[in-house]
């Protein structure tokens, strides 16, 4: 089932066009990987999905992006509600310089999701458990989130993202700043999360895309060259360019 449908998406940074006519469907409760060389537009596309490009003054997005059959680019879309439904994890772990507890409770608080302190405590605990961080931090919830190791910080950011129970989680190269052990932990976590969430992940590592995703889209120079099941893309791609990139001949 399609969770997200992008139709004829064009993105411009001022005069420069960054994405050309992207058409892509993203399946519900699956992991979709976006791969491609640096500057190919995969992160730009990811940021279209929760309208984070709005933050950039000169950025202009055209086309239709339907999530649950609702076009998020239409006028009057409430981006606050949208981002509640679509969480995001960034390349560099960016916990708030507040306590661990406050990092997780922030989202539920601003969206009014908890009726009482107990309920909020429960959300914090559940989110940390789902992010496989609970056991490591349960005794120091009042310490600053910035005091954790890089991998722990990234899992904290994932816990923060899932605290508002989003339908979709966007991940922008979530492991590129982490060591291999922390990366493995995050990948395991992604596998777990896809039971309840639709996940779109941008990654530089083709082995990671092959390991975690069911669908893969290959971007090059702002165009979506090929999209399909991860098996097919890695074993038997339709396009020569995809084949070249997968086998490391360029990129």
């Amino acid at each position: 089932m399609n969770k997200i449908e992008a139709k004829n998406v064009n993105v411009f940074y001022g005069e420069k066009q960054a994405l050309f006519d992207i058409n892509m469907d993203i399946q519900e409760k699956q992991v979709t990987a976006l791969i491609g060389p640096s500057g190919c537009g995969k992160s730009t596309f990811l940021r279209c999905l929760n309208r984070m490009n709005d933050v950039i003054d000169i950025c202009k997005v055209e086309g239709e992006i339907k999530i649950n059959d609702y076009n998020i680019n239409q006028k009057g879309t409430d981006v606050v509600r949208l981002r509640e439904k679509i969480g995001m994890v960034f390349q560099k772990p960016n916990p708030f310089p507040k306590t661990l507890y406050e990092n997780i409770s922030y989202g539920p608080e601003i969206h009014g999701m908890a009726q009482s302190k107990d309920e909020l405590d429960q959300i914090v605990e559940d989110s940390l458990k789902k992010a496989a961080l609970w056991n490591e931090v349960k005794d120091r919830l009042n310490e600053p989130g910035t005091g954790l190791s890089g991998g722990q910080q990234q899992r904290l950011c994932i816990a923060r993202a899932i605290s508002v129970k989003p339908e979709v989680i966007l991940m922008d190269e979530p492991c590129s700043a982490l060591d291999p052990i922390a990366t493995a932990q995050i990948e395991e976590l992604i596998d777990e999360l896809k039971k309840e969430h639709t996940i779109v992940i941008v990654t530089h590592s083709m082995s990671q895309a092959a390991r975690v995703s069911q669908q893969t889209g290959f971007f090059h120079l702002g165009k979506l060259i090929e999209v399909g099941s991860t098996d097919k893309i890695f074993k038997n791609p339709d396009q020569q360019q995809t084949q070249d990139y997968i086998t490391g001949r360029f990129g």
Partner: protein, 423 residues
């Protein structure tokens, strides 16, 4: 062919020379500072001491126009005259003194001797009719003589102190009747034409009220302006223009703001002149750009990743700004604010224009009362011819410098204590 050994030596030597230049520059700067501080301290420290002369005061009922047979009530003592008590007691210091000489003796004391004599009898009513020793404030000239600041070797006609006064003074001094104590009145009195009575209370309170008004006006305005410009305003020609003008505003000579205060606050709005209210608003025009620039710089220093994190959680732009960006930028903003206030505290020119240079001998109780300010007080005293004011100028500078150092320390502390580290 270059001799590489020699070439290397040359490089080392030039590096050493360069370091030497740097060190000399620092030594020179410290030397200037040391000379400056030494000069101020050595002239000023005596102002914190005040000279008192103890003489027998004759509380004779006759001089007080009271009935000798009857013990007077406190109210009687309150209403009584003490000028004659003083004059008769002065005359008793030298049995052979003629009228001129008695006047000379009277001038050895501060003109408030009547008050001091009255104060003593009011607190010791039992001394009525007795001759008791009372401590009186010495005149500023004798104060300077006692502190060794007065050139006694000058010929008499060029001195404000007569030979006769010096004779009486030396006699009293030899008897151990002259002493100097900590000068509390320097901190509790307002300005006075008499150097021995002049204090900084009025100007200190004036300065304090001025910077409080300045803070209350400029901080909220500057913070809102900075937040809007940095976080919300689109980047276009208009905002560029505004930014350039804010930077220009910071470079406008302060006297221009004084003219603005005079022309607008006093002339158009009719606010009371010489008051810290007007002074503070005028100074806030000066601190506004400083705080805006500091606040924008510290907002800019908050990593964009924090904003993205909050936005991606579904926070609105205002929530992102108020919950995350502004709290993180506050330490920088606050220390910038204190630096701006410290500049305002040392500002003289605009205050002179709005009338805070007036002679104010009352201590202001609110920002609406006329007051002087510390730097203007320095200016007023520095203009006075009397020798007694010389040390006061330096003492006032010391107080102002201590005030400034404390403010800068506070700025440093806020920065160190509350600055959050991220990654």
């Amino acid at each position: 062919m270059i001799n590489r050994e020699e070439f290397l030596n040359k490089r080392y030597k030039s590096e050493k020379r360069f370091q030497f230049y740097g060190k000399s520059a620092i030594v020179l700067a410290l030397l200037f500072l040391a000379v400056f501080l030494f000069k101020i301290f050595s002239t000023g420290y005596t102002a914190f001491q005040k000279t008192w002369i103890t003489i027998p005061i004759n509380y004779d009922p006759e001089f007080m126009y009271l009935d000798a047979d009857q013990k007077p009530s406190i109210q009687d003592l309150e209403d009584s005259e003490y000028f004659d008590v003083g004059i008769e007691s002065f005359a008793a210091l030298d049995q052979n003194a003629n009228e001129d000489q008695i006047t000379d003796i009277k001038r050895m004391f501060a003109f408030i001797f009547e008050e001091e004599i009255k104060y003593h009898i009011l607190s010791n009513p039992d001394d009525f009719g007795k001759i008791v020793e009372v401590k009186l404030t010495a005149s500023d000239d004798l104060d300077q003589v006692f502190k060794g600041n007065y050139p006694r070797e000058l010929p008499e006609e060029r001195r404000r102190v007569t030979d006769y006064q010096l004779k009486i003074f030396d006699k009293l001094n030899a008897e151990g009747k002259v002493e100097s104590n900590f000068n509390f009145s320097f901190f509790t009195n307002a300005d006075s034409r008499e150097a021995e009575l002049a204090g900084i209370a009025s100007s200190f309170m004036g300065s304090l009220f001025s910077i409080l008004v300045c803070l209350a006006v400029s901080f909220p305005v500057a913070l809102l302006a900075a937040i809007y410009l940095e976080e919300f305003a689109p980047k276009n020609r208009l905002t560029d223009f505004i930014e350039v003008n804010i930077n220009n505003l910071a470079a406008v000579p302060s006297i221009v703001f004084g003219l603005l205060g005079l022309g607008v606050l006093l002339a158009v709005f009719g606010l009371p002149r010489s008051t810290p209210l007007v002074g503070g608003i005028t100074l806030s025009l000066m601190t506004l750009p400083t705080i805006i620039i500091a606040a924008r710089a510290s907002l800019k220093a908050v990593p964009p990743s924090i904003r993205e994190a909050a936005l991606a959680m579904g926070a609105s732009r205002m929530q992102t700004t108020l919950h995350h960006t502004v709290p993180l930028s506050l330490p920088g903003t606050l220390s910038g604010t204190i630096i701006g206030l410290a500049q305002a505290l040392g500002e003289t020119a605009p205050l002179i224009l709005i009338g805070m240079v007036a002679f104010v001998n009352t201590i202001p109780g609110s920002p609406m009362d006329p007051a002087a300010s510390l730097p203007v007080q320095i200016y007023i005293w520095a203009e006075s011819a009397e020798r007694g004011f010389v040390e006061k100028v330096s003492a006032c500078i010391m107080v102002l410098l201590i005030f400034l150092v404390l403010m800068n320390l506070a700025a440093q502390m806020i920065r160190h204590k509350f600055e959050k580290k991220w990654n």
